[in-house]
């Protein structure tokens, strides 16, 4: 009698596991990294400036004109050689800006390609 009871309890306890799912299945789903998607930097809008050339001949005339126009008769000067250096420096700054912008565009294109519609 005891044996039958023991067997019955064993069947009762293990009944659900017989023939059922025994292993836990683990799924790994790859979630793509969120896109940074920064907008491209806003383009510059530069203000116009005017160069005035002063020589020993026209200096008085230039200052007189400035006074006439109500502008302080003072000029910030550059020699012709320094003007060339300034032009070159600006060209280099512009090139660096263009290079950086281009790199940014290429990175965006490579890592954040636009989805095909």
């Amino acid at each position: 009698m005891n044996k039958i009871l023991a067997i019955a309890i064993m069947i009762l306890l293990t009944g659900c596991s017989i023939g059922g799912e025994k292993r836990i299945k683990i799924f790994s789903v790859e979630e793509p990294r969120a896109k940074l998607d920064y907008p491209m930097p806003t383009a510059l809008q530069l203000e116009e400036l005017k160069w005035i050339i002063i020589t020993s001949k026209n200096a008085e005339e230039v200052f007189a004109k400035l006074e006439e126009a109500g502008i302080d008769p003072v000029l910030f000067g550059l020699t012709d050689k320094d003007y060339q250096v300034l032009a070159r420096n600006f060209a280099q700054i512009r090139q660096k800006l263009q290079e950086t912008n281009n790199l940014l565009e290429e990175y965006k294109k490579y890592y954040e390609p636009k989805e095909k519609e």
């Binding site: 383009a43 012709d80 090139q95 912008n101």
Partner: protein
Amino acid sequence: MAIAIMLITGIAGAGIYVMKLRADNATLKANQFKLETAITEQNKVLEQQKKDFTAILESNKKLNVLINTFKKDLQDLDKRFTKKDRDIGKLAIDRTGAIERIINKGGKNAARCIELASGAEHTEAELKATLKSEINPECPALANPNFVEYQ
């Protein structure tokens, strides 16, 4: 009695063997499926790598072209100041008004180049420019993409 035991044992053994075969078969099928999936994934990875490699090459080529354009632009700028032993200082003394106009126009063009380099949109005139008289001589490659320099 002995025959009966042998018969039962034999049937049981055969049953266990068949069950083992079925289990092996299931394992092999699962392995086959995994291998096929792995091959498909590997092919996809290889294809993507090929595409990436092409994109990298193209991008490098583009940047190299850009850097060469930069060199040429700087050389052109130097040429404008020193062409045929030109001395811009002396020219400015002799023809002050004309040089002032040229320098102001150059400054305006250079400022426009900076705007374009920072990502500004081209104007229609800049895009249409194909003649030397229509282009921005400070940065023709950037400002006038349709201009082809006459060699």
